[in-house]
Symmetry: C2
Subunit: 323 residues, 2 copies
């Protein structure tokens, strides 16, 4: 075996042994779509599946990062190691305050039981979700007991959180007002636990009560009734233990109900298809640029003589024949 071909497993061993630099480098490789990550991920895959992976999502300004920070504090006080993935909103418009919170978290850098990594969500939505999933798995393989994935409630990535985390916390703040109605539609798909943060603000009790009532209106097909928990991250913090207890209760539910196995299978199937689809897409893009007959097909579309759906159909059929 050459040095190059053994690099994967060696890096994998280093990651399992706790080498954070190799972990960080491998995460970068995954983010960049560097194929060198292939062998490392492959070697580590049997080691994964042990961490509790928790998604924390919600709109900007609800204090998700502070909540993550408080959860990290609680977990560290119990001796549990924690990996944190912060998925940056890809929009260039936000970031300021988020980064502030991030910096607070990163100050824990001297604690080797915490590993923080932020990821840019710019680029294809499938791309970020897929990369985040692999990074969570890397942290899992690296032996972290808990992996927290924080995403901003921007739509695509937080829906994808269900394909990454086994338990998803949706964070809101008091004074939802009219938005409660809007919340209804999408929340049940995402939330295993509702967290009303900033209970130090007035109106928090009412918000909790409203949300709890709303939750009883929906019934999930898996039989889980999402709890509503109030938290405050201002010292002395409130509700953080209860929030984590709810996470553990949901994790136990996944085991006893058989939902974990079903969810795992669904998630992995989606992941495999996603990777396969992306690879095929890359191959098709290359061929559309290089293959003369496909270039002519594109010419016809540009000339408005063949519509894009019909062209795609030909591309798929052509792929069937010649690939």
């Amino acid at each position: 075996m050459t040095g190059a071909s053994s690099r994967g497993p060696a890096a994998a061993r280093a990651i399992v042994a706790g080498d954070r630099r190799v972990l960080a480098r491998t995460i970068t490789a995954v983010e960049n779509g560097d194929p060198s990550a292939d062998r490392i991920l492959r070697a580590l895959y049997p080691q994964s599946g042990r961490a509790v992976v928790v998604g924390i999502t919600g709109p900007l300004g609800v204090g998700k990062s502070s909540l993550v920070n408080a959860l990290v504090g609680l977990l560290r006080s119990r001796g549990e190691s924690v990996g944190v993935i912060g998925v940056d909103p890809s929009s260039p418009f936000t970031g300021g305050s988020v980064l502030g919170d991030r910096i607070r978290l990163e100050r824990r850098a001297d604690d080797t039981g915490v590993f923080f990594r932020s990821m840019a969500s710019r680029g294809a939505a499938g791309g970020v979700a897929a990369a985040t999933r692999e990074v969570a798995r890397l942290m899992d393989s690296a032996g972290f007991d808990v992996v927290l994935v924080e995403t901003v409630g921007s739509g695509q990535v937080d829906v994808a959180i269900r394909d990454i985390a086994s338990t998803s916390i949706v964070v809101v703040v008091p004074h939802l007002g009219d938005e409660v109605q809007t919340l209804k539609a999408g929340l049940f798909e995402i939330a295993d636990i509702f967290c009303v943060n900033k209970t130090d603000l007035p109106g928090a009790d009412l918000a909790e009560k409203d949300l709890a009532e709303l939750v009883t209106l929906g019934e999930r097909s898996d039989g889980w009734a999402p709890p509503v928990v109030g938290t405050s991250t201002i010292e002395p913090t409130r509700g953080i233990r209860e929030l984590w207890d709810d996470v553990l209760a949901h994790e136990q539910f996944l085991d006893t109900s058989g939902e974990r196995a079903r969810g795992e299978r669904r998630r992995l199937s989606a992941e495999i298809v996603g990777i396969a689809r992306d690879r095929i897409g890359q191959e098709l893009t290359r061929r559309l640029e290089r293959d003369p007959s496909l270039r002519r097909l594109l010419d016809e579309v540009v000339a408005h003589r063949i519509d894009p759906r019909a062209a795609a159909e030909r591309l798929v059929r052509g792929g069937r024949r010649s690939r």
Copy 2:
């Protein structure tokens, strides 16, 4: 030809003739991924490519919908017909204020020169972007002179706006503060025009100046220098004409520079590959569920014996052989 097989062209003719009900129904079919839209889109494709398609994007709360409303007012006063597509943030957290603005727009319903349609961006990011592109094209084929596509700055969809619109306006408000730094990174990719809205607020001049300075720092490979225009949608509105003049200037630039043809080719190539990739993905999902050997492959992944990337590789190779 049977009734069913001629339905596509008949609906297409109705849309071109100005039948808004058939247009609305066809948009719904596109949104739902209903294959009945195939023939209609195909029949209409040669009629498209005439409208000016403008993207309007930016964070929540900058007044995009009011700006769209003001642009519609200006364009209608000039006798131009306008189609408006509002891409809802898929996140369930927002929507309240956005809906308020929408309702104002929809009150123009008695004016047949305006057609408003909101689209949910829930679901796959590629899915929404692809559907929005096809809906914009439907409005284009229906004869609207201008199609305005409003998206919330949530990341995925507003980046995709460059694959839909020929001119993209990025809307911000005064007091960007620290965010200006964050803006830098992503804005040049998106904005053909920067709009500082709410110039009635204090600090607007400074914001315009700051942004104008920022714009001179970057240089676009296409040679276009994005203008910065200040607007206010409070009556009497300010800057709306200037904003539209900038849109027309950019559209003219696209023609004289040859960028329109290049952009069009790039957009169509991405669209064709996107459709092909989605179709292949659907087929792979089906096969992974039904094909016994692929079910076993998934079993191996669930058992952590084969990693998802390797499984995807086999799935792609299997597809090459047997499809």
